[in-house]
């Protein structure tokens, strides 16, 4: 088998994998924060709805969620599904799913903050927004970084689930080549790629942790 050809074919899948990874983070990280606010809301209805959302997102397979997100425009709204929607559906499903996990991570971090920080800010005259974004959130980020690293590493590997919507990310590409050439080599190569990707993710997160290590 031509190794250069294999790497080339895998490479195209790799780009898709990396795209899914970054777009999911881009949308799910802020969305998770919004959902965590809902989860911590004093309003019963909002809190309950978010709780159910998180429960469903965490309690059902991501693979099924991908299918639901892809087919629901047709089954719910009777819209025609174009093939270009596939990639969008992948990003949408991933973002909705990961936001649920991130929401709980944010909540854990926010609720672990000592009340004294809020009180000090209040007496000093900081508004609610200022208190959250200047005083609370930076400290929360430091506290939740290890949990976010875990989730992010899982995301790298979860990207392979995009195959259910026939989005050819790297693992799908590897399987196709493996089947055609009857060799396990492309799958091993894919494994090496995921591992290296995750090494980079872990290294970057460690760098962030060190950067935030200037205070305790």
């Amino acid at each position: 088998m031509n190794v250069a050809l294999m790497v080339g074919q895998l490479g195209e899948g790799m780009v898709i994998t990396v795209e899914i990874f970054f777009l999911t983070l881009l949308f799910s990280l802020p969305l998770g924060l919004v959902i965590s606010f809902g989860r911590m809301s004093k309003k019963f209805l909002l809190r309950t709805v978010t709780k159910i959302y998180i429960s469903v997102m965490r309690g059902t397979p991501l693979m099924l969620q991908l299918i639901v997100v892809y087919f629901s425009p047709y089954y719910v709204f009777g819209m025609k599904i174009s093939s270009s929607y596939r990639f969008t559906a992948v990003i949408l499903a991933f973002a909705l799913n990961y936001a649920a996990y991130f929401a709980e991570i944010y909540r854990g971090g926010i609720e672990s903050m000592p009340i004294g920080q809020y009180e000090a800010a209040q007496v000093l005259g900081y508004g609610r927004m200022q208190t959250f974004f200047k005083i609370i959130l930076p400290q929360v980020v430091k506290r939740i970084l290890p949990a976010v690293t875990n989730e992010t590493i899982t995301l790298v590997k979860d990207t392979s689930l995009a195959f259910v919507l026939a989005v050819v990310e790297m693992f799908t590409a590897a399987k196709q080549i493996a089947a055609k050439e009857t060799t396990i080599l492309p799958l091993m190569a894919a494994g090496v790629f995921y591992y290296i990707f995750n090494l980079a993710v872990a290294a970057f997160m460690e760098y962030l942790e060190k950067k935030l290590g200037y205070y305790r």
């Binding site: 920080q117 009180e119 000090a120 005259g125 900081y126 005083i135 930076p138 305790r216």
Partner: protein, 251 residues
Amino acid sequence: MKYLEIEHLKKTFGALTVLKDISLSVEEGEVVSIIGPSGSGKSTLLRCATMLERMDGGSLSYMGERAAWEENGKCVYAPKNDLKRIRKNYGLVFQSFHLFPHYSVLKNITDAPVCVDHVSKAEAAARAEKLLAQLGLEDKKDAYPYQLSGGQQQRVSIARALALQPKILFFDEPTSALDPELTGEVLKVIKELAKEHMTMIIVTHEMQFARELSDRIIFMEDGVIRQQGTPDELFGNPDERVREFIGKFQA
């Protein structure tokens, strides 16, 4: 002028009445210490006065401006914007400092003046440097709170409160988290502020300190002000309970 006026303050937590009927007014330049056993409501009184806790009855005014009052048996607060302005009248020093750990000492002191009062950065920094020098911390401005001793942290938190130039400064057991040596350095700072006629209301267990420094001492127990007067009046008080309490601390 009455800087602070509290009338008939009531506060309950569920079924528990913590403050029964507290009236207290503090004049410009006055130093008032509040003493009393744990659970007597001293800290709750301070937290109600600084609006960290909502009152259930009575009224609260700063500089003659009403922050909260009673209407149809319920306590109502002034509109948000008024409260924001009223809050500028006072600062609060906490028992456990509550410095912002992610900010340097300098930033802890300058951030609120810049972000809340819109003082220029240069002006805020100048104020901070002056305060740090005054409190003996000039070499600590780039340090982070975790690098400081408890006494230094408490002095920074006093500087942080003073940087907003409040008219009244509240202290909630400012030395209770400190060992005797560190307590001394914080009390020294508070004494210096008293010399400059800073209006202060101090909840404390440091009897000797309260005696030396205060214009008036309030003894609280079971949610009421049991006795109050000048230090001499209180320390020579005929009230058995007051004498017993003070005696324990001086032993």
